[in-house]
């Protein structure tokens, strides 16, 4: 057979013709990105599971990762970059911006394109049509509700005037649209995989397929000789500095490249560095790599057993950390209690499933190294990179790219150390992007927990005591395991007065993927146990479940199990009071629905939460800076990474009101460790509270400097007119730059051996109601409604707060009903299920504002509080509907069926 004459495939994208030098079976997604530079189309899985790469092919939505280039020839392709040229496309983008439908923005191009296909046929769709059209795109941030709202509202934005930005002094409390929103909507945002230089080499990790094994690497020279584009194979011997990293300064236990022993499936063995095509052609079995497979410790109970081999010589009993809180005499108090409930619960690994896989690039500039990567913690990345290269901190620059979702999973380094090593040694820019399978196998997870607990109350329903024992599977390396073990006992009572407490959590090492930080740091697992106990105690005492919680709710002036007196901003009782009418109404609706009988049983559940904002009993400062150049705009130097939650907008609102100029007058300098101070990591729901307070102080400091220069009083009004700063209507000409710096470190004290102290300066509180129906023949849960009341101190931006709550609830739904990561078995997004647009019901949000005096304008955090009560509220409702006690999480259909009372 004769080969056809060579001919360049021709693509028509957004109305322009391109001749493309790519193989005909190349994925359209990679052609768009790598050949045409249209990086607005995002890659999330290369398997049609996530829909992030959705484009329109001849008007119909398609995953560009599943379309061979040859099949796209001769038909019109529309990508997100072409949307703004279409009136409905622009209207759709405007609706997304105004209504807060994009958070991290990574799924947004896919959502927009799927929505566009619908709107071209149905300009005013109903909710069911939107769900059907967008059902193939996964979002991990938003909880989908604002996306649905925006698509349904898009037609209104065909002629709507642009939103008016908040005036000076009016930013805090406004539903201001995201300051960084538009690049997420027009495809210009640059994520970890979008910005590497054209001449960058690629790095491809070689990872262990075994959970526990010894290995030897032979001579790499023949492999390098056989593949001319392979420049180098990096191994442990190549690490210039310390071959280890980890969250804690004294625990750098995770090697960049393993040294003859791997401890989990996904552990790093070595890395290939070279030209993309050459790396793509190398089969792993070509490597001189021999394995001696060892039996893994696949369960924390096995790891705790006598004689179990230690994962690390440092922890001979495989116990990484034990956290403890002891107050009073729990055993005696339980013995004297009118009612006692107890139980055992088991949860699973949960995968962050951010839609953006880990990606970035590094380059060496003289004797400095620069790493551009998707991250939640630039200064921690800086320390890790300095450590593995053996360089002083000032020789490292971290430039965060846009982050396509984190949820805790991008607090640990991923690509950063190995890219830095490669770029340093090869003196070439080097880039890497993890595949979905690699991301899922190698990245950290939520700790699976085995919890046993007992609790009691008196005849009036007042809680008397709690005994709590948690075994948390922390996997092969420490990561954030110590944080989880520390945080869980301090939160184990939930937001209630419990006078006698004996609580312990252990982080146990196993040959599983490292468990790390995931929205809630172990608290969501503990809340499942604790809230189930309260339901049983309430029933035993004959008290309504909401009222039982109201009786026991922590209030200002109460003391916690760590001996801390909560002095302000404890709005749980107010949350419950706000929910009470909805509780009553939804319970009545469920009772009516159940009166007819049938296999569908309706139920309503409730759960509460609290969450300490910031690090547990440890310093976690943030520094913010606002500057004003002569004749220029104010510039906000903000080192806090916005991973979609909205800190870039919220901190700007705070700084703007503190200074007294409108938020849209500011220039923003974000994240870059050369240009911004350390704001601390984006974790522990701390950026609004900690960095927000620092931003407020910075704005106030600059304001003071201006007022001093203008000799004006504290009430003076600032304005910018044609680049000139006006103070009370009079121009103030500056000859030198002015600046204001703010720093805040929440006041805490370390916990002692019994867990006594002040672990957090403030707490978020919330209560959520879940209304649902259980199909008692199939074990399927039909969620009908979530009502969420959250005490946020002050909602700096209610639009973004709602977005956090809706997104947290969606993740709580996943945790409760479907998410179970099994190493080696669910390493993709079709076997590992996260909620789709059809799985998140209507969410009603009620914001309670019990101001926190330490916070900026009274604000505290919301990121993690949103997720914690959802799963226990769902289980409470399942129990209400059917009597089934959910003790094995997630409550998959077969588990619910097994749990139904016979």
């Amino acid at each position: 057979m004769n080969a056809p004459p060579p001919r360049l495939p021709k693509l028509t994208v957004n109305g322009c013709d391109h001749a493309v030098a790519a193989p005909p079976d190349a994925r359209l997604s990679t052609v768009l990105r790598d050949r045409l530079g249209l990086t607005g189309t995002k890659l999330g899985c290369d398997a049609g599971d996530c829909g992030a790469c959705t484009v329109l092919v001849d008007g119909a939505q398609a995953c560009a990762c599943l379309v061979p280039l040859a099949q796209a020839e001769g038909v019109a392709v529309l990508t997100v970059e072409g949307l703004a040229a279409l009136p409905m496309g622009m209207a759709l983008q405007s609706a997304f911006q105004a209504l807060g439908a994009a958070q991290c923005g990574y799924c947004t191009p896919g959502m927009l394109m799927a929505a566009m296909a619908l709107l071209q046929a149905v300009p005013r769709p109903d909710e069911a049509q939107v769900m059907a059209a967008l059902g193939g795109v996964l979002c991990r941030c938003t909880g989908y509700r604002k996306i649905i709202e925006a698509v349904m509202a898009a037609h209104r934005f065909l002629e709507a005037p642009a939103a008016v930005p908040p005036a000076a002094g009016a930013a805090v409390g406004s539903r201001m649209a995201r300051a960084d929103g538009w690049p997420k909507l027009d495809g210009t945002e640059r994520y970890g995989a979008d910005s590497a230089p054209a001449d960058a080499l690629w790095l491809r990790p070689i990872r262990s397929p075994h959970a526990r094994a010894r290995f030897t690497l032979g001579d790499m020279a023949p492999l390098v000789a056989r593949h001319p584009g392979l420049h180098r194979v990096l191994t442990a011997a190549d690490v210039p500095g310390r071959n280890g990293y980890g969250i804690y300064p004294d625990i750098k236990d995770q090697p960049v490249f393993a040294e003859g022993l791997v401890r989990y499936r996904g552990d790093m063995v070595c890395a290939l560095v070279g030209e993309r095509e050459a790396l793509d052609a190398i089969r792993t079995d070509e490597l001189p790599l021999t394995w001696e497979v060892l039996p893994p410790l696949a369960d924390p109970l096995a790891a705790l057993a006598e004689g179990a081999p230690p994962l690390h010589q440092r922890w001979l009993d495989n116990v990484l950390t034990t956290g403890r809180v002891v107050q009073g005499d729990a055993a005696a108090a339980l013995a004297a209690s009118a009612h006692v409930a107890e139980g055992a619960w088991q949860t699973s690994f949960v995968e962050h499933a951010y839609i953006e896989p880990e990606a970035g690039w590094a380059q060496r500039i003289g004797d400095r190294i620069e790493v551009h990567a998707s991250t939640q913690a630039p200064y921690m990345d800086l320390e890790e990179v300095a450590g593995v290269l053996g360089l002083p901190h000032e020789s490292v620059r971290i430039v965060p790219t846009a982050c396509g979702g984190g949820f805790g999973g991008k607090l640990d380094v991923a690509v950063q150390p190995m890219l830095a090593i490669a770029a340093w040694l090869l003196r070439r820019p080097v880039r890497a992007t993890w595949s979905r399978a690699e991301s899922m196998a190698s990245s950290t997870k939520r700790h699976p927990a085995r919890i046993t607990a007992r609790a009691g109350c008196d005849a009036e329903g007042r809680l008397t005591a709690l005994e709590f024992e948690g075994i948390y599977d922390t996997g092969a390396y420490a990561s954030w395991g110590p944080t989880v073990a520390g945080r869980v006992p301090a939160h184990s009572t939930g937001p209630y007065r419990v006078p006698h407490v004996r609580s312990r959590a252990r982080a146990v090492l196993t040959n599983h993927p490292p468990s790390g930080a995931f929205r809630g740091f172990g608290v969501p697992q503990a809340a499942i146990a604790q809230e189930a106990l309260w339901d049983r105690l309430a029933d035993a005492a004959g008290i309504d479940r909401l009222e039982f919680r109201h009786i026991n709710a922590l209030r200002a002036g109460d003391s916690t199990a760590t001996g801390q007196v909560i002095t302000h901003s404890a709005g749980l009782a107010a949350c419950l009071e706000a929910l009470r009418p909805r509780w009553t109404a939804l319970r009545a609706e469920a009772a009516t629905a159940n009166a007819g009988g049938g296999p569908l049983r309706h139920g309503v559940g409730i759960a509460c939460m609290w969450y300490g904002i910031g690090n547990t009993g440890m310093s976690n400062p943030s520094t913010m800076r606002v500057t004003l150049e002569p004749g220029g705009r104010p510039t906000f130097h903000n080192g806090a990474v916005d991973i979609g939650q909205g800190s870039t907008t919220v901190l700007l609102q705070i700084a703007a009101d503190a200074l007294g100029l409108p938020a849209n007058a500011f220039a923003l300098v974000l994240g870059d460790t050369d240009l911004t101070a350390d704001a601390g990591k984006t974790s522990a729901s701390r950026q609004t509270f900690v960095s927000g307070r620092a931003a407020m102080e910075a704005g106030l400091a600059l304001r003071d400097a201006i007022l001093l220069r203008a000799n004006a009083g504290p009430e003076a009004r600032l304005a910018l007119a044609d680049g000139v700063l006006m103070v009370d209507g009079r121009p103030l000409h500056l000859d030198t730059p002015l600046e204001g710096t703010g720093r805040f470190d929440p006041p805490t004290t370390p916990l002692d051996a019994n867990g006594q102290g002040v672990p957090y300066a403030t707490y978020g509180f919330a209560a959520q109601i879940a209304a649902l129906a259980v199909d008692t023949e199939l074990g399927i849960v039909h969620l009908q409604r979530i009502v969420a009341a959250h005490d946020v101190g002050r909602a700096i931006n209610p639009l973004l707060v709602e977005g956090q709550i809706e997104g947290g609830i969606a993740q709580g739904i996943g945790l409760a009903l479907m998410e179970e990561y099994l190493p080696g078995r669910t390493e993709n997004l079709h076997d590992y299920l996260i909620p789709t647009i059809g799985d998140v019901p209507v969410i009603e949000t009620i914001l309670i504002e019990d101001p926190e005096p330490l916070g900026p304008y009274g604000a505290k955090g919301i990121g993690e509080p949103a997720l914690v009560p959802t799963a226990p509220a769902i289980f409470s409702a399942i129990r209400d509907a059917t009597g089934a006690e959910i003790t094995r999480v997630p409550a998959l259909p077969h588990r619910i069926l097994e749990a139904l009372p016979r």
Partner: protein, 290 residues
């Protein structure tokens, strides 16, 4: 054969296939091929087989009424099936077409590709088994037709010979007024691999069931027809049908434990889905909502 070919005629495709030194990968909508490639490459198992893209073959486009059966060409996508004005006995297949993957997959993936991939959880199989569909296979040796149940040889195995291409699904006409339905159970709303599926096609004569064809998917390596149940239903009214169903009608199923559900759950859920399906088909307004 070159690394990639996209012939426009069946003859050319069959010639390429016959002359290929090693069997190429057959590509249609790409919704199975590319995910498999990604999963393999993630662990360093690179795919080096050439690709024969069947998506431009003229002869396999479109659907047609061939007198006593409907011919569904191999290029017909789920979306095309979903939108086509097909007779009511296609309601189960149409319902499956609305629930397989998301809109992106429905727009690209083909029904024939779904059959050739031969997953135990293939959404197209139960509805087509209940329609006694056959698959048409072409090679330079000629054309043959196999009943779908014979074509599907096991988990990810078919009777497709190395030199053959599946060119069409042939669906015999059912009796006018036949009713059909499909039930799919998964752990989330969209983009979900079935835990259990059930499909039924019921033909009536003078108010009684003249023929019932019923299948269950994702509970055995290949979806199964329930012959015992079908026999018992003959002669009954549709209203009586749900009560006939017993556990022993599902005895031939061999469900497994996997990440989605347990075997015993699948067995029970299959029975529940079947009962509900029969109940639904007994109701007067039985056209499946698309």
């Amino acid at each position: 054969m070159a690394a990639y070919r996209r012939p426009e005629s069946l003859a050319e495709a069959l010639a390429l296939l016959a002359e290929a030194p090693a069997p190429p990968l057959l590509l249609a909508g790409g919704t199975d091929l590319y995910p498999a490639r990604a999963a393999a490459e993630a662990w360093g198992r690179m795919e080096s087989r050439p690709v024969l893209d069947l998506s431009a073959i003229r002869e396999t486009a479109g659907m047609s009424d061939a007198g006593d059966h409907t011919r569904i060409g191999a290029r017909v996508t789920w979306a095309a099936l979903r939108e086509a004005p097909l007779p009511p006995w296609f309601d189960a297949l149409r319902s499956a077409a609305t629930r397989v993957g998301g809109a992106q997959v429905q727009n690209r993936a083909t029904l024939v590709g779904n059959l050739c991939n031969a997953s135990p959880a293939a959404d197209g199989v139960p509805p087509l088994l209940a329609l006694d569909a056959a698959i048409e296979l072409a090679s330079r040796r000629g054309t043959r037709r196999l009943p779908l149940g014979e074509f599907l040889a096991g988990n990810r195995r078919t009777a497709l010979a190395p030199d053959e291409i599946a060119t069409a699904v042939l669906v015999p006409h059912a009796a006018p007024g036949a009713r059909a339905g499909f039930e799919k159970l998964g752990a989330r709303s969209y983009l979900v691999i079935s835990i259990v599926m059930a499909a039924a096609v019921i033909e009536l004569a003078e108010g009684r069931i003249a023929r019932a064809r019923i299948s269950v998917g994702a509970c055995s390596p290949v979806a199964l027809r329930l012959a015992g149940l079908e026999t018992e239903l003959r002669g009954m009214t549709v209203a009586e049908a749900p009560a006939v169903l017993r556990a022993d009608h599902l005895a031939a199923l061999s469900p497994i434990d996997d990440v989605r559900a347990t075997a015993s759950y699948r067995r029970q859920a299959a029975q529940v889905l079947l009962r509900r399906l029969l109940t639904r088909l007994a109701a007067p307004a039985i056209r499946e909502a698309a």
